[in-house]
């Protein structure tokens, strides 16, 4: 309540400082439970200079992103998510494989969902648009807004962009019928471990296949998981290492994808 003091001048303090004061008034000697009061007793609250930086606004923004995401995804119920590095030479064999997989998937009527960026994602989207059937799956991109730019590749037919990483991850994890991971960096690893955790804790169906492409890239990690996590440290169960498969080609991946049941999570 001491917050709106006379010394506090909006014009002279930086926005950051302003913000700090706004959210810390209840810490200034009032004790932790100070917000548990009837509303007429709550301290006066000053708006920060930019309303978008307030906590309330951010919750609304999250809500808007969730709604947009679900609204968007409701049309793509039969989709397969493809992940992989955005930072890879487009002529690399893995990119060719991603392109082939994208084409095979849309030919059989699956929608291809990627992160919408360059590299593997672009290759998969490009492949998805090259299927020559009359009725084929769509090439879908769930982009991320980084800084001021949205990075979207030119082969996306339907796309949406998110500010929050976790909303994008959530949308990716929400509807995929199968998950395919090409070699990739932190984003790929993040999503892979997230989906394994969700299946392991039975938050999503155990029948959703997780397919890792390239023995060369993934084998060392798989070996580490078995040797250290499972055998030496007992941090996971024996059946958890069966949640994913490693293959080398798009055709092998297709076999697992065809066997997967449709997700009815919506």
């Amino acid at each position: 309540m001491t917050f709106a003091s006379k010394n506090h001048k909006q014009s002279t303090v930086s926005r950051e400082r302003d913000f700090y004061l706004c959210y810390s008034y209840n810490m200034q000697g009032n004790g932790r439970q100070s917000m548990n009061k009837p509303s007429y007793d709550l301290p006066v609250f000053e708006e920060p200079q930019d309303f978008r930086s307030s906590m309330h606004w951010r919750i609304f923004r999250i809500m808007a992103e969730l709604m947009d995401g679900w609204q968007f995804l409701a049309d793509f119920r039969n989709n397969v998510a493809i992940f992989g590095s955005g930072n890879i030479d487009p002529n690399h064999a893995w990119c060719k494989e991603a392109e082939k997989l994208g084409r095979l998937l849309t030919e059989e009527g699956f929608d291809v969902v990627t992160g919408g960026g360059p590299g593997i994602m672009e290759a998969a989207n490009r492949g998805a648009t090259t299927a020559e059937n009359e009725v084929r799956g769509k090439s879908v991109g769930l982009n991320i807004k980084l800084g001021r730019k949205v990075r979207a590749n030119p082969y996306i037919e339907k796309s949406t962009a998110f500010h929050y990483f976790f909303v994008r991850n959530l949308m990716m994890n929400y509807t995929g019928r199968a998950y395919v991971y090409f070699p990739g960096g932190l984003g790929t690893l993040d999503n892979l471990t997230a989906i394994i955790t969700l299946i392991q804790t039975k938050k999503i169906s155990i029948k959703v296949p997780i397919i890792l492409i390239s023995h060369e890239f993934w084998d060392p990690v798989a070996r580490w998981i078995v040797e250290k996590m499972l055998n030496k440290y007992n941090a996971i169960s024996k059946e958890d290492v069966d949640l994913y498969v490693i293959v080398d080609t798009a055709e092998e991946a297709m076999e697992y994808i065809r066997k997967s049941p449709i997700r009815n999570e919506f």
């Binding site: 917000m35 906590m55 969730l66 990483f165 993040d190 471990t193 804790t201 060392p220």
Partner: protein, 249 residues
Amino acid sequence: MANIKKNKLNIPASALPFVNELDDFRSSMPWRMLRVLGEFVDGWQFLGDIEKSVTFFGSARFPENDRWYIESRRLGKLLSEDGYDIITGGGPGIMEAGNRGVDDARKEQTHNERIGRSIGLNIQLPYEQRINPYVEEAMGFHYFFTRKVMMAYSSIAYVYFPGGFGTLDEFFEVINLIENHKINPDTTIILIGKDFWELLLEWFEKYLYEHHKFIPETTRYNYQLVDTADEAYAILKERLKNTKPKRIM
């Protein structure tokens, strides 16, 4: 709903098709949206008072006499004696050890020095609700992602003990967020347990940095690998000395 054509829902409310209420309103999509929001509001309301905290991750399966349990307990004690709140997932194993360290510190408290709080951000799993007895303040989440946002959101330092997929997930998520400038790049990340993490980090070096350059090489300065609680404490003390309390959420 089933026979409405796709993309035909862009019409005034008066013309929208009639929708039957589901048997249980909790399984409807709008309700789930509200539940997600409810978890966000609850979570931030709960975390709003935290000024400086360190989050511990690690396996839920380590027993009391395990080396890493003991290290985690010791680190929890050292940090809470310095006034840092300890946040864990509220489960057993490493999480319990971290919370228990705070309990140890409180038992040995002689003067009225400030001891950090012991906080558990728990997850409600279908087959178990596992909260350890050393958590002083807890909040349970239904959704993994809200819990993860709260975790990635609240602390100025993250400590990773050996663990399973959940631990790995948190590690990748936090370094990914730092890499993409979504959270403060000064956030301290410490991996404990050379035997456990070394092989993975070698793979990082070989495949991700050098061979394929999937991630910028500077990422490797975002985390540090140590072997004991005391080493971790020394680094944290040095790095956190100048860190501002995290008030801007």
